[in-house]
C-alpha cells in the first residue's frame, strides 16, 4: 500500500467524526442558546394599579425595559429622563412603544409606591408600566438582562441601563451609562 493510500485510511477513521464533531461544536450554541426574549423572562408582575401583567403579552410592539427603585433620587431620575426622550422621539415618528420599569427592591417598590412615583413625576401614559415582582423573579430577570445591582442596606447600588426588545419580543439593543443619548441610539 502506498503512503498516499495509507494516509487517508488512517485519517479517515477519525476525519469524518472529527469534522462532524467540529460542525456540531460550531453549530451547538445556536441550537442550545436561544436568544433572550420577552417570553424567556419571568412573567408574574404587578402593575402599579394592581393588575397582573405577563411581560410577553407586550410582544407586538417595541419594548424599552429598565430597572429602577422608587426611592432612588440620583441614577433612576436620569434613566427616566432618557426614557422620556425616547418617548418624545418615537412620538414624533408615530411609533408606539411600551416602557417597562421594574423595581429593584421588591420590599419597597410595591404597586402603591410606584403609583405615587409616577403621579409625582407625571408619568401618566398608559404605555408606561411600573412593575413589582417577587424578589426571586426580580433577581432572575436582572441576571438574564445584565442589570447588575447590589444592596447596601436600604440603598440599591446600580447603573443606568435599559434594553430594547423588537416587535417580535427579541432583545435588540442594550443601552448603558456610556450611551449619552439613548434616544439617538434607537
Amino acid at each position: 500500500m502506498s503512503a498516499h493510500s495509507t494516509i487517508p485510511l488512517c485519517c479517515l477513521r477519525w476525519l469524518a467524526p472529527m469534522l462532524a464533531g467540529l460542525f456540531l461544536t460550531v453549530a451547538a450554541p445556536a441550537v442550545t442558546a436561544a436568544a433572550v426574549g420577552l417570553a424567556q423572562l419571568p412573567q408574574r408582575w404587578l402593575e402599579d394599579d394592581g393588575r397582573t401583567l405577563a411581560i410577553d403579552s407586550l410582544a407586538g410592539r417595541r419594548v424599552v425595559l429598565t430597572m429602577a427603585y422608587a426611592r432612588c433620587h440620583v441614577v433612576c431620575p436620569q434613566a427616566v429622563r432618557q426614557l422620556q426622550q425616547i418617548q418624545s422621539l418615537l412620538d414624533s415618528r408615530g411609533e408606539r412603544v411600551d416602557f417597562v420599569i421594574i423595581g429593584y427592591d421588591p420590599d419597597n417598590d410595591r404597586p402603591s409606591d410606584w403609583r405615587v412615583y409616577r403621579a409625582d413625576r407625571h408619568l401618566n401614559r398608559s404605555n408606561w408600566h411600573f412593575l413589582s415582582g417577587s424578589r426571586t423573579d426580580t433577581e432572575r430577570l436582572a441576571r438574564q438582562l445584565g442589570f447588575d445591582f447590589w444592596r447596601y442596606d436600604e440603598h440599591v447600588m446600580h447603573d443606568a441601563r435599559a434594553v430594547v426588545f423588537d416587535v417580535r419580543g427579541e432583545l435588540q439593543l442594550a443601552l448603558g451609562p456610556e450611551t449619552k443619548s439613548w434616544a439617538s441610539a434607537l
Binding site: 500500500m1 493510500s5 487517508p8 485510511l9 479517515l12 477513521r13 476525519l15 469524518a16 467524526p17 469534522l19 462532524a20 460542525f23 456540531l24 460550531v26 453549530a27 450554541p29 445556536a30 442550545t32 442558546a33 436568544a35 433572550v36 424567556q40 426611592r71 433620587h73 440620583v74 441614577v75 431620575p77 421588591p106 420590599d107 410595591r110 402603591s112 405615587v116 403621579a119 409625582d120 413625576r121 433577581e139 441576571r143 438574564q144 438582562l145 445584565g146 447588575d148 447590589w150 444592596r151 447596601y152 442596606d153 436600604e154 447600588m157 447603573d159 443606568a160 427579541e170 432583545l171 435588540q172 439593543l173 442594550a174 443601552l175 451609562p177 456610556e178 450611551t179 439613548w182 441610539a185
Partner: protein, 464 residues
C-alpha cells in the same frame, strides 16, 4: 455607544468560551457562506475515494467493512449538517429583513459587528458572573486633601480616607448576611482594619428581619441611612457628633447584639420600627468601644426607633423618634458605670430635587458609681442639600452640641466637648460611581479646650 445585540444569546453566553465559539461560528459561516456545501462535498468525496483504494487490500476487508459503516454514518451526519447549515443561513437572512433593502455589508463590517456583539456579551457577563459563582465584592474608597483632614484637626495635606469592603452573601430564602470591613489610616499613619459591621439575619418576611452581630445602632436617621461608604453620602463627612467611634464620635454608633427591624405598609405610607439590645459600650482611651468581644461588667444597651414614611401626601418625608439606654463603663482603675439615656427626634425629606435631614438628641445621663446627679446635654444638626442639573449638589449644614462637662460620659471622651460647626459644601458626581466633594467649614469648641478653626476640604470618593 449602544450595541446591537438583536440575536445575541445574552443569557446563555456567560462564559468566554461560548463567546469565542459563537464568534468563530459567525466567522466560519460568513467566510464560507454558500461554500459550506462545497466543503461538505469534498469531505464526502474523500470518503468515496478511500474505500476504492482500500479494496485491493484483502487483509483489511474486515476493517474496511467497519470503515464503510462509519462512512455511511458520517455521510448521514454530513447530510444532516448540510441541512442544518441551510436552516441557519435561512434563519440568518430572515432575522435581518431590514438589511435586505440596504447595501450588503462587507465581510469586515460583518465581522466587526459580530465582534462588537461578543464584546457586549463579555462585558455584560463580566459584571454579573459573581451573582451565581460566588460572593460579589463591592466597596467604597476615598481620598482627601485639605488644610486639615476631615476628622483630625491637627493633620493637614493629603490623606487616605477608607477602603471599605462590603460583602453581602446571598445565603438562601430567609438567611441574610452583611459584612463591612474597612481599612483606614490611624493617627500614627498605620493602616488598621476594622470589622465595622458583621451581621447575620433571619428574614421572616418582607417586613421583618432579626439580625445578630455588630450593626449600626438604630438611633436617629443618619446612622442607619448612611454607613461607611462615603460615596453615597451627599456631604463630605458625617456630622461630628455621630462620627464613628474611632473617628471621635460621641454616640455609640455600633452595637453588638440583636436587632429586630422592619416596616409595615399602611394605606398611605408606612411605619418603620427597630428594636435592639446588645453589649453596653465602654469608654477606652477616650473613645467609645462597642465591646465586640463581649462585656466584662455586664452592661447592656437597649432601645428602639419608630418612624413614619409618608406616602402620597408629602412623599419622600420620614419622621421618627428613637431612644436607647446604655450602661457604659470606662477604663479607669476603679471602673465607673454611667447610665446614658438618649431620646432623639428626626426627619428626612428626600426627593429628586432636594434632601433635608435634621436630628435632635437629648441626653439624660447618670453616674452610677456612686449615684450622682442627672446630667442633661443636647446636640443636633440640620443639613440641606439641593440636587441641581449637571450632577451638582450643594449643601449646607449646621451642627451644635451642648454637652455637660461634668457628665463622665462626655468628660472621658476626647471629643466630648461642646461645639458648633457651620459648613457649606458642593458635591459633583463625575459619573455614577465617583464623586468629588468640596467643603468649607468653621468649627468652634465652646468648652474644655476652647478653640476655633476653618476647614477647606476636598474629597474624591468612589464605589465599586
Amino acid at each position: 455607544m449602544a450595541t446591537v445585540v438583536s440575536d445575541a444569546p445574552l443569557a446563555h453566553a456567560r462564559d468566554g468560551r461560548f463567546g469565542v465559539a459563537w464568534l468563530w461560528r459567525g466567522r466560519v459561516i460568513k467566510r464560507l457562506g454558500g461554500g459550506m456545501f462545497g466543503l461538505v462535498l469534498a469531505v464526502a468525496g474523500c470518503g468515496a475515494i478511500a474505500p476504492l483504494t482500500a479494496r485491493g487490500e484483502s487483509s483489511e476487508s474486515k476493517q474496511l467493512t467497519e470503515l464503510q459503516q462509519k462512512l455511511d454514518q458520517s455521510l448521514k451526519l454530513i447530510e444532516a449538517l448540510t441541512q442544518r447549515v441551510k436552516q441557519l443561513e435561512a434563519a440568518q437572512s430572515a432575522s435581518a429583513p431590514a438589511a435586505a433593502g440596504a447595501a450588503a455589508p462587507t465581510d469586515a463590517q460583518r465581522i466587526e459587528t459580530v465582534e462588537n456583539r461578543v464584546m457586549q456579551i463579555e462585558a455584560t457577563n463580566a459584571g454579573r458572573s459573581g451573582d451565581t459563582t460566588g460572593v460579589p465584592l463591592h466597596g467604597f474608597a476615598d481620598i482627601g486633601i485639605g488644610n486639615h483632614t476631615a476628622n483630625e484637626q491637627q493633620f493637614q495635606g493629603a490623606n487616605v480616607g477608607a477602603l471599605d469592603i462590603f460583602l453581602n452573601p446571598q445565603l438562601g430564602q430567609h438567611t441574610r448576611s452583611l459584612f463591612e470591613l474597612t481599612f483606614e489610616v490611624n493617627e500614627q499613619g498605620q493602616v488598621q482594619s476594622d470589622l465595622e459591621r458583621a451581621q447575620i439575619g433571619y428574614q421572616f418576611n418582607d417586613q421583618a428581619t432579626l439580625w445578630v452581630g455588630r450593626f449600626h445602632t438604630p438611633f436617629g436617621y443618619y446612622n442607619t441611612a448612611y454607613h461607611h461608604g462615603q460615596q453615597i453620602a451627599i456631604s463630605l463627612r458625617r456630622p461630628r457628633l455621630i462620627l464613628f467611634e474611632d473617628q471621635g464620635g460621641v454616640m455609640p454608633s455600633h452595637t453588638v447584639g440583636a436587632w429586630f427591624t422592619g416596616s409595615e405598609h399602611l394605606t398611605d405610607g408606612k411605619v418603620t420600627y427597630d428594636l435592639f439590645a446588645g453589649n453596653g459600650q465602654s469608654i477606652s482611651g477616650g473613645e467609645i468601644d462597642p465591646r465586640s468581644g463581649g462585656v466584662d461588667h455586664g452592661g447592656a444597651i437597649y432601645g428602639g426607633n419608630l418612624g413614619y414614611v409618608f406616602g402620597e401626601t408629602l412623599n419622600g418625608l420620614k419622621i421618627g423618634v428613637s431612644a436607647f439606654r446604655s450602661k457604659i463603663t470606662d477604663d479607669q482603675q476603679f471602673v465607673n458605670f454611667i447610665r446614658v439615656d438618649n431620646v432623639a427626634v428626626y426627619f428626612n425629606y428626600d426627593t429628586d430635587r432636594f434632601e433635608y435631614v435634621g436630628e435632635y438628641y437629648r441626653f439624660s445621663d447618670t453616674d452610677l458609681t456612686p449615684v450622682g446627679p442627672l446630667h442633661r446635654s443636647s446636640a443636633g444638626f440640620l443639613q440641606l442639600a439641593w440636587r441641581l442639573p449637571f450632577a451638582t449638589t450643594p449643601y449646607a449644614r449646621y451642627e451644635r452640641a451642648v454637652l455637660d462637662q461634668s457628665d463622665e460620659y462626655f468628660a472621658l471622651q476626647n471629643n466630648g466637648m461642646s461645639y458648633y460647626r457651620a459648613a457649606l459644601g458642593l458635591r459633583f458626581d463625575l459619573d455614577l460611581k465617583s464623586a468629588l466633594k468640596f467643603e468649607v467649614a468653621r468649627t468652634k469648641n465652646t468648652d474644655r479646650n476652647i478653640q476655633e478653626w476653618n476647614d477647606v476640604l476636598l474629597n474624591y470618593a468612589i464605589r465599586f
